[in-house]
Symmetry: C2
Subunit: 146 residues, 2 copies
């Protein structure tokens, strides 16, 4: 990927609503040229989409946790991501190396909701869980540097 594309992506990570006009000014290109480049980045899948960045406390989901899961019966086929994809509290699912097989990032409103969520996860995926509560988030989703 070219240097100028990298710069465009970095700018859009900081402000995903930046206008093509301003992107052009920041990169030394014309509006149309930037537009074309962004379109190409979207087509190639480099840019997957645009999203709003939300304060989770403000939307009523102040409690974040990481849940590591391990299958109870390792001989069974492992389709945990599919089984869990219907649970909306799960924001992310990572397949990881190590003792456990997946790490889930979840957001709920209260501790009681977490308890309920854990029960659903265990029964849906037939796994044991290990939960790490997030106390605070110094930073998250930081943009790439140019």
């Amino acid at each position: 990927m070219e240097d100028i594309d990298r710069k465009i992506v970095a700018l859009l990570m900081r402000d995903g609503r930046m206008s093509y006009t301003d992107l052009g000014k920041s990169t030394g290109l014309s509006t149309s040229a930037v537009h074309q480049r962004v379109r190409r980045l979207e087509e190639r899948g480099v840019i997957r989409g645009y999203a709003v960045v939300v304060d989770h406390e403000a939307v009523g989901l102040p409690l974040t946790a990481f849940i590591s899961i391990k299958p109870i019966d390792p001989s069974q086929p492992d389709d945990s991501p599919d089984r869990l994809s219907g649970i909306p509290e799960i924001e992310a699912c990572y397949s990881v190396a190590g003792d456990e097989s997946y790490i889930l990032k979840v957001r709920v409103g209260r501790p009681a909701d977490l308890e309920d969520l854990l029960a659903r996860i265990r029964s849906s995926a037939n796994v044991t869980t290990r939960t790490t509560i997030v106390l605070s988030t110094p930073y998250e989703n930081r943009p790439m540097t140019a």
Copy 2:
């Protein structure tokens, strides 16, 4: 927060570049009304900003890992987030309950870069590290449901 604000936020999590006109159609409000609500959400800090969603493999950072850190000397003041904030590979930093004090999410290009990054983290923050390599990411940053 009201129900209609929740809906607006959910829509913007799916498409952060959705026009106010379309937001209005989807919520049954006029363009201006939606515009005002979004502005209020931004002022209140519910909407923190807008960002592009990037394919990390495509931008040359295919290797993701979680690094749990623990201070070597627990009697020292714990300012790890500040000490580490200058390291661009660190995408997120969570303060967590449990044996370790922070979990970092990092992205690098190659295993060798991870080795180098770990050395920088250990020396910058005076901590021990435990690294969990991400093999694949079934999903990530999923939008809230309505």
